[in-house]
Symmetry: C2
Subunit: 283 residues, 2 copies
């Protein structure tokens, strides 16, 4: 993924050099690459190679990084540390960070439109553009961030917290699986259904796990400050239903996801291992 992303970013010596350098700093600065891993594991499950979906994985990761760069801005979450390094606006400046996010989003769609590594069929590429736009917009990631900002300091119930998570993090997790599936020209609808049934609970469980780590994790392993959610009075699963009930909910969603995946048999083993790792992770 590092090489794949690096190859798709403009060189740090190309005009405007500072912007390109800041884009590379933000994208290539580590990160768990969870969404690309989901793309690759899904590709394996539906009989595609990693090469078939590499560009789609890059596009999703570019959107993810753009959202981190903008979410870290002083006007948003005001974070100084990301992946153990200064955030983009700290390492560069705020104006550059705004442009980095903007340009990474554009690059994501550009990759889907013209990257030679993707399946050539225009209909498939266009469907990928549509899926990524839907997952990134106000009914997905950007909308989730808006709900999150509006909710700070207010009380949400469990349904509202889950609606926020479904958009803010869930949409991009979900689309990682669905975009890989969309690279198959005519996927068996039962497989499509099984994959959707898998990734919906995984997306939510992943976010609950993230909230739990913010309460229980330690900053050195995470590479970012902990306790940030409660400091900002962000509504999270642990704050609404408590730590133990949140852990129970992760286990239940985990089981639901595995049940949904049954029709795919052993070809989905990579997806299962990835889900196991995601929900047991400590960072």
């Amino acid at each position: 993924m590092e090489l794949a992303l690096a190859a798709r970013l403009p060189g740090a010596d190309v005009l405007p050099a500072r912007l390109h350098e800041a884009m590379r700093y933000s994208v290539l600065g580590g990160g768990k690459r969870i969404r690309p891993a989901l793309v690759f594991a899904t590709a394996h499950a539906v009989g595609l190679t990693e090469e078939d979906v590499e560009a789609a994985a890059c596009a999703i990761e570019l959107v993810h990084v753009y959202s981190l760069v903008h979410d870290d801005l002083p006007a948003m979450d005001d974070d100084d540390l990301r992946r153990g390094r200064p955030t983009c606006h700290k390492a560069y400046d705020e104006a550059t960070a705004v442009l980095v996010g903007d340009a990474l989003q554009t690059l994501a769609f550009q990759v889907l439109a013209r990257d030679p590594a993707l399946p050539a069929a225009a209909a498939i590429r266009l469907r990928l553009v549509e899926l990524l736009a839907e997952a990134s917009g106000t009914f997905g990631m950007a909308g989730g961030q808006a709900i999150d900002l509006a909710a700070q300091g207010r009380k949400l119930d469990l349904v509202q917290v889950e609606e926020m998570h479904a958009r803010k993090t869930g949409a991009l997790i979900r689309v990682s699986v669905m975009m890989a599936a969309a690279c198959v020209p005519a996927l068996d609808p039962r497989w499509q259904h099984a994959l959707a049934g898998f990734v919906n609970p995984i997306g939510l469980a992943f976010q609950i796990q993230d909230d739990l780590l913010d309460v229980l994790g330690d900053a050195t392993t995470l590479g970012k400050a902990t306790g940030a959610d409660s400091e900002r009075s962000k509504p999270t699963h642990p704050s609404v239903i408590g730590i133990e009930a949140s852990q129970d909910r992760v286990r239940l969603l985990h089981q639901q996801a595995f049940d949904a995946l049954a029709p795919l048999g052993p070809r989905a083993d990579l997806l299962r291992s990835l889900a196991d790792w995601l929900l047991a992770r400590r960072y």
Copy 2:
């Protein structure tokens, strides 16, 4: 255009309501709609109806408005007034303005991917995504804004000022014509060439005219503060080559554009009128 844009924006009562309301405030708050006008005039020249290109015009205008909302942010140009009304971050808040820009960009690509009003051929839609991404990214609009920010308070020569303008404003002006042309399945390459030869000088002349208005215009007619460029020591044509030479350059580019358009004959008369208006405008 107001109706076409309004129909493509989520309702102000749809969750997240404040974000959707701020998007509608920013997009529907007036504006000259120059880029859509170029799309429609080009459609007329190549034998398409306004309906054929309406969605493309919307996508371009959404990208234009996203760039205005982000450029107005305190970390960027720090403008309080736009189109005679408070800028998005003044009317709402900075975090909302960041998200408004982000979500408008996403919506632009979503419109190209799935708007039923566009030509159905996936290859054409995909080409529109590619063209818009190219014009918006670091080799287009976002890159031009980065060069502009880096240039403030520094001396640029004429070549550098024109390189900045070609990206910052020129790219989106140019793509307005080229996207309309791309909606024709197999456009005569000579027409394609004529349109490119027309819009390149028009894009630059338009920006020089904008810079001239910043020096010579009055704030009431413009709906924004004048003298802002020189206050920020932004390199502009008037500041580099003087007012009179800038006016001469607009006239020369105007003539170049008309010469290039000759092969299209009278079917390009709307484009010619539009160019005349653009380069004579007082706001």
